[in-house]
Symmetry: C2
Subunit: 316 residues, 2 copies
Amino acid sequence: MKRRYLLSFSYLGNHFQSCSRDGNNLSSVVGALEDRLQRLKNTSLASNVVVSSRTDRGVHAIQNTAHVDLLTDRELSLTNVLNVLNKFYRKNNIGLRVSAIRQVADDFNARKFARFRTYLYRIAVPKYNFDCIDPYTPISEVTRCYFLRKPGFDIDAVQKGLSLLIGTHNFLSFTGKPSKQTLVRTPIRRIFSFTINQGAPLMCDLHEPFSNNFDYWDFIVEGRSFNYRQVRRMIGALVAVGQGKFSCNGLQRMLDLEVQSDEWIMSIIAPACGLYLMKVTYNEDDLAVNRKQKQCIQEYSNLMFLLKQRELCLKV
Amino acid sequence: MKRRYLLSFSYLGNHFQSCSRDGNNLSSVVGALEDRLQRLKNTSLASNVVVSSRTDRGVHAIQNTAHVDLLTDRELSLTNVLNVLNKFYRKNNIGLRVSAIRQVADDFNARKFARFRTYLYRIAVPKYNFDCIDPYTPISEVTRCYFLRKPGFDIDAVQKGLSLLIGTHNFLSFTGKPSKQTLVRTPIRRIFSFTINQGAPLMCDLHEPFSNNFDYWDFIVEGRSFNYRQVRRMIGALVAVGQGKFSCNGLQRMLDLEVQSDEWIMSIIAPACGLYLMKVTYNEDDLAVNRKQKQCIQEYSNLMFLLKQRELCLKV
């Protein structure tokens, strides 16, 4: 019997070449998931793994989601599946963990049904003017944080910039070069919330003294969906605002633009290493296995109600 | 002119196959250092890189040290060397950073002259009884911490165990199988200090909710030198004490043994991922470039003093 499952999983971006399948191996997140799923006993893959949020190479995920169809002759032990998958990833030092599997309705789509996507972006601003910051960077942060090269970060200006981005805007200037895809889809997106708060190093300065050379800041942004590289381009522009290299007026002009300007776009993109997909949120109703039945019952009762009304009308 | 330099550097253990050179490539820490050093302009390597503390595969270093001889026709710009090396490691996402280079005396030896070595070991104890902990493990901790499988950790017993290990002991039972090397060298070592304190996750539970599933503990141990795998075996035994699988009496018996018992030794060894070499400390005097000159002057003045005394004696 074919059943659809929703997977929740986390991964370290630097452990993979990409998120989407990339040849028949473990070098992509989807590849690593499919590779182990198709080796499960008495089970076969009836569809590819469809990931809800395709992260760029190097971007981490605290929680990403995907759906997949599995063909099984008997009820799957989901705990067993979790254990088999994770055991393999742990033993092979692969930075991927599957945290949950649940059955969903056959027409559930992990990507389309997502209601919120929450991202974290970590930056570190040097406290002093170093000739070169590399020798003073905490090793634990390598591939995990975006290190600015110079001190000075105007947090008020950044906060003003953030507030401009919240709400529904044409984010054409914050996406990649127009491809066939972006020309078809609308670049209009809605940002529910966008904040910046004091962050913390991964290891305290007691253990890693170089942590003390930097101030850490955490951006958190939430929306239903984002354009290709939109988060990294927004952060790139906001960091430029914080450093005084770009103004809030410039940011406003980017939002007002309805045609892409190549100069701006190519100049400010924050590196992948600082970005973490924190959460993909669904409506609980959408996750119900018998959602379709529910819907049918609802539609049936609506129909009955209409028929009864008509009957009443006829009787009158 | 040939000059000797002392390098301080940090690395992530999971980015390398080993610490010592392993073929002619970037897969070892020493290999990655030598590879870049021999490509410096107007400079050639006059010796191999001699690392002070050879860490096992998977063990991280916040600060490790090494010495190397470079042949240069003019004074080296050490800032420039630092920048060239680190730029390469950063651009290629290699988890290695050189934090300092300084010239030392020609007979300086990074390994033999080390006065203290300080290690950190991070463990995480589950708060609840999970069927399997893998799905509940924070992704940021993968390859960075040792996750115990079951809750319950008797910190008082561990503290009692620690105190037994401090001081000078025969650590034969805490080293690997006797090899030619260990048979030649004495397994007697002195532990200056050994502590355990509440630790912290790399990412707080606000960003990574699974962090909240665990209690973190940091072991810190300091000694002049350690036997092969001594730290990981001591931690392994102490964790077993904390879990009630091993007693402090057993620990004492291991210290008293002067012949290795295979059963004990092979059973308890903590994984490499939790271990961090925090610091290698030298006497400031040993680091002086003109240490040899100083020594000569000292010896000369001592000789003069003796001669004068003899003169005085003769006069009397």
